[in-house]
């Protein structure tokens, strides 16, 4: 995983000297310590096709190594998700990105076995999902993990409040109690006053708020989002993103968020996993992806990104040389370039990048200008 970061390309913004181990930005790998992770996925496969052939694919090295199209031509099976490994920390927003057909929806549905994985293990809050029986799985879905869908998946014959309370009703909660809880959540997502409406009387954005409220109602620890805002127009989408950020701040859930919109990913995600044809291409924070794209696929993704808003100083600093004027200001390595522009350009001396009192490098006018001009 970490190797990706090293394959920086020459056109990328200047990067810290590779040899200077200590100054390298910390790269967050896909795998973390499974004991502290909320969700931990190992060797996950989903192969669509006849059951017999499909189960053979992950275990046969020759088949497992094939590309998706090769596999389809050879066996007629479609490998939607291939050998994924990743961990999501408690309270983290983990974003999965990829082009259409790259297997994002399949992946997120495998997490609660709405789609049955072909191979691999999934651990959520310490429990192995892949070994659960039907009853345990239902309990998990009722209490621990909930999901928000692209086209909302609301019930048209029920009022908003009944939609929100649906999951609670399924659990067998009493009517009075679930209505009370539903009212609370409806307030939380800003839909107060629409309790008695029917879904189709609401705009798309409001309908998705209902979807959000329904997912929140059961107070799950983990929330899954499958492109929840793709069907909304841009302005509403921005509102809803703000809403998720606010909710995340208020309720602090672990979130797995599927999107194909990079700006959404950068805005929401602590870390981003980029998928292509079912496989991981790169996992990392926004600046890591922008600063050191693993390959052309990722580079294509991040091309349009305004770098100055994503990259931090540690990604553009250079090593201090004796000739440097060391009288400049000190800034932290995780300051976003845009916020440092003024400080750097106003002084003649380069800005010193300092962490815990240790000098990591310096950023002068040329470094800043390269980023700002490049974006």
């Amino acid at each position: 995983m970490t190797a990706h970061v090293d394959q920086g390309d020459p056109t990328a913004v200047s990067k810290p000297d590779v040899s200077a181990e200590n100054t390298r930005p910390t790269v967050s790998p896909g795998r973390r310590d499974p004991d502290v992770a909320d969700i931990s996925v190992r060797g996950l496969w989903k192969v669509f096709g006849t059951a017999r052939t499909a189960t053979r694919v992950p275990t046969t090295p020759e088949l497992a190594a094939m590309s998706r199209s090769e596999l389809r031509d050879r066996t007629g099976c479609l490998a939607a998700v291939c050998d994924l490994d990743f961990d999501v920390a408690p309270g983290e927003v983990f974003v999965v990105m990829g082009l259409s057909g790259s297997g994002k929806s399949t992946l997120v549905r495998c997490l609660t076995r709405l789609i049955e994985p072909t191979a691999g293990t999934i651990t959520i809050q310490g429990e192995d999902i892949t070994r659960m029986g039907d009853r345990a799985l239902r309990e998990l879905r009722r209490n621990k993990v909930s999901m928000v869908f692209q086209h909302f998946g609301l019930l048209p014959h029920r009022r908003v409040i009944e939609n929100v309370a649906f999951g609670l009703e399924i659990r067998g909660m009493s009517r009075a109690e679930r209505m009370r809880r539903a009212t609370e959540v409806i307030e939380l997502v800003g839909l107060d006053g629409y309790q008695q409406s029917y879904p189709e009387q609401l705009s798309g954005g409001m309908q998705q708020r209902v979807g959000l409220a329904r997912a929140l109602a059961g107070d799950p620890g983990v929330m899954l989002f499958d492109e929840p805002f793709s069907a909304l127009d841009p302005l509403i989408r921005r509102d809803m993103q703000q809403e998720v950020i606010r909710l995340h701040r208020e309720v602090g859930k672990t979130m797995v968020f599927i999107t194909h919109d990079l700006s959404e990913a950068l805005k929401l995600g602590d870390r981003i996993l980029i998928m292509r044809d079912g496989r991981t291409v790169q996992v990392g924070t926004g600046p890591e992806l922008v600063g050191a794209p693993a390959d052309d696929y990722v580079r294509d993704f991040v091309r349009e990104v305004p770098r100055s808003q994503v990259l931090t100083l540690e990604w553009i600093m250079r090593e201090a040389v004796p000739a440097d004027d060391m009288s400049g200001r000190e800034l932290a390595p995780d300051v976003v370039v845009r916020d440092a522009v003024r400080a750097v350009l106003e002084s003649t001396a380069p800005v010193k990048v300092v962490r815990d009192g240790r000098l990591l490098g310096v950023v002068g006018d040329p470094e800043i200008l390269r980023v700002v001009a490049g974006s």
């Binding site: 879905r141 609301l154 048209p156 014959h157 399924i170 029917y198 009387q201």
Partner: protein
């Protein structure tokens, strides 16, 4: 274009057909009257006697054989009880009461309230008016008998059909098994299974209802399955993601979301059941069907028309009410009406309706005036006649005699022309040739048209027809079928081309076609019996009217399917309208033409049999006689088999011919 051209470039086939015809005619002239297989109406063959014996032995053993004792008889008794219960409620004297439990006032109010509660106030008014009209027609009791039968059939259909629909929606394998069965249930002429059913369930209302159930169940199964399958996968997934169990998904998500489609299925089931009431009357099911049937047999056009009208009124009311209910079940309407009406207000309205209904039912239970529909009202000294029915009957009768007297100069020549110049010669050729000659000629024709397989199937079916001993009757039925089909295809092309080319014509004509298709088949016969008497010709006309709408619609769709660009290209290269039609549009819709012919044949065949009741004779008559005379039971069964065999042969040959002409004929056309 290329395909069509191939059809026209094959003079070989036409020459061959002509050759067969000439050879047949020559041999016919020489051998006429020899080696024919004919059977007088009351004669039977040994096969028929054996079938009679089967009937007798079933009758003798039905109380000892475990299959009957624990299965068939249970069904029969259960169905009979259910029907009797409904009849006691609605139509027949119950227990010591000389009148049913709920009198006319009760029924009218109940229907109105149901229509208003689940539909809207407009259909509530329609329901009230319609049911009162039934009473005014003097047909209250038979109408209620029919209603009772229909309710019985529909309740059974719904109780069995919805769960089956759920299974179909959930299990692919089950769907694959049941689809051909449903196809068969809908396409097989009802006549065919009616007689075997009596073998199992005896003559009586139970058999009538079971036949109605067989015919009427497929729509509710299909539409339930369809409605469930159409529920968006994401919504179901959302339900699963919240941890719902399978029964919860079904009850709380899928069924409510499919509600509207299911109600449409129930609507179609009701219509199908109603269209069967006359046929069910053949096995002594009571009600309007009986009235129509008896009137047709005694050629009492006035009574037949009045009763036929009652069936139509019943059908219209039930159709409108269920349609309104299905529209109301649409979620948008749902949202609107629900929001407007405060739940408390709604509950109040429901309560009022309930009280009014209870009062009406009580009145109709207690007072003679509200129990049996009165034929007149005496208010003070004035007498108000309520017997609209007798007026309708006498108007119809006088219209009929006028038509027979004064239109005779028009209808007579038409009838005689067709009978003497088309029907009789064809019938003679088919049934007075030596049977082997006809056999060979037909198989050869099948070979030329449809190839080896078609010929083989035709030969097998005809061979079996010979075995039934009803060769002559079969050939007579075949003659009438062929003539009617020719007319159907001609009409199909004429109107189909017109409608296909002209959207306004389509808009204007289509409702009439729909009406012709949903009207119970027997109602067709009434005016034609009036005009042409009980003759074979009447049967042919009725069959044409029954089958033409299907053929017209298929051709119209085919013509419309020709790409507009191709038509424009032809026009721009200087084709006249006539040339565009004959050289572009018709050849390019050859598939639809073939399909129209195929479906036309099947529909005609189903109706020619019904027409057997009104003088059409031949196989239809044999089947009908099988119901009324136990000595002819076996012959009736054999005639039913012969109809199926003819149907299979005609279907296969036209399908193969169609495939050769450039397209596979799918069986489900409409």
């Amino acid at each position: 274009m290329a395909r069509a051209a191939r059809v026209y470039r094959r003079p070989g086939r036409l020459t061959l057909l002509l050759g067969i015809l000439v050879g047949w005619l020559v041999l016919y002239a020489v051998l006429k009257g020899t080696d024919t297989i004919s059977l007088a109406p009351s004669d039977v063959t040994s096969l028929h006697t054996r079938l009679n014996d089967l009937n007798t032995s079933v009758g003798d053993n039905r109380n000892s054989n475990p299959f009957f004792l624990y299965f068939i008889n249970e069904i029969q008794v259960g169905a009979t009880h259910f029907i009797t219960f409904l009849q006691n409620l609605l139509s027949q004297p119950s227990g010591t009461r000389p009148v049913p439990v709920v009198g006319w006032l009760g029924v009218v109010v109940i229907m109105t309230v149901i229509a208003g509660r689940f539909g809207n106030w407009r259909v509530a008014v329609l329901a009230a008016a319609g049911f009162l009209f039934l009473g005014l027609q003097g047909l209250w009791q038979p109408s209620m008998d029919t209603l009772a039968l229909t309710i019985a059939a529909v309740v059974i259909c719904v109780l069995i059909g919805i769960p089956l629909g759920v299974l179909v929606a959930q299990y692919r394998g089950f769907e694959r098994v049941i689809t051909p069965v449903l196809d068969l249930m809908q396409t097989m002429p009802t006549f065919v299974y009616l007689l075997p059913l009596t073998l199992l369930f005896l003559i009586g209302p139970a058999t009538g209802v079971i036949a109605m159930v067989i015919y009427a169940m497929p729509p509710v199964i299909r539409l339930t399955a369809h409605g469930l399958q159409a529920v968006s996968t994401e919504t179901v997934e959302a339900g699963r993601s919240l941890g719902s169990t399978r029964p919860q998904q079904l009850a709380k998500i899928m069924l409510p979301m499919a509600r509207r489609t299911i109600i449409i299925g129930v609507n179609q089931t009701i219509m199908a059941a109603l269209s069967m009431v006359t046929i069910a009357a053949l096995v002594a099911a009571p009600g309007l069907g009986q009235t129509v049937l008896q009137a047709l047999e005694s050629q009492d056009v006035g009574t037949a028309f009045n009763a036929g009208l009652a069936i139509v009124v019943l059908a219209v009311v039930l159709d409108r009410v269920t349609t309104a209910a299905s529209e109301r079940a649409r979620a948008t309407d749902h949202a609107r009406t629900r929001l407007r009406a405060d739940p408390r207000w709604r509950r109040g309205a429901d309560l009022v309706a309930l009280i009014v209904t209870a009062v009406a039912v009580y009145l109709s239970y207690t007072y003679q005036l509200f129990a049996a529909f009165p034929d007149h009202l005496a208010i003070g000294g004035t007498r108000l006649g309520l017997d609209l029915g007798t007026h309708i009957e006498s108007w119809t009768s006088s219209a009929t005699s006028w038509a027979q007297r004064d239109l005779g100069s028009i209808t007579g020549p038409i009838k005689n022309g067709v009978t003497y110049h088309a029907l009789n010669p064809l019938q003679n050729l088919l049934d007075s040739s030596p049977w082997w000659l006809t056999f060979i000629a037909i198989v050869a024709t099948a070979f030329v048209l449809g190839g080896r397989w078609a010929a083989l199937i035709a030969a097998t079916c005809l061979g079996l027809v010979v075995g039934t001993g009803l060769w002559q009757d079969s050939m007579d039925t075949l003659a009438a079928t062929l003539i009617a089909t020719v007319v159907v295809v001609v009409l199909g092309v004429m109107f189909g081309v017109w409608m296909g080319r002209n959207a306004r014509a389509d808009w204007g004509i289509r409702p009439f076609l729909d009406a012709l298709q949903v009207m119970p088949a027997f109602v067709y016969l009434v005016p034609f019996v009036a005009l042409f008497g009980a003759t074979r010709f009447t049967g042919i006309v009725a069959a044409v009217l029954y089958a033409a709408p299907v053929a017209i619609k298929i051709v119209a769709d085919g013509i419309r399917g020709v790409p507009a660009e191709t038509v424009e290209a032809a026009g721009s290269s200087g084709c006249s309208t006539w040339q565009v039609i004959t050289k572009v549009q018709l050849p390019m819709s050859v598939r639809s033409l073939a399909l129209a012919t195929n479906q036309g044949l099947i529909y005609v065949l189903a109706m020619v049999v019904v027409a057997g009741l009104v003088g059409g004779g031949a196989l239809g008559f044999d089947v009908v006689a099988g119901f009324s005379q136990s000595s002819l039971f076996g012959k009736g069964l054999a005639a039913g088999a012969a109809i199926v065999l003819l149907g299979i042969a005609l279907d296969r040959v036209t399908q193969s011919a169609a495939r050769r002409a450039g397209g596979h004929v799918s069986h489900r056309a409409t």
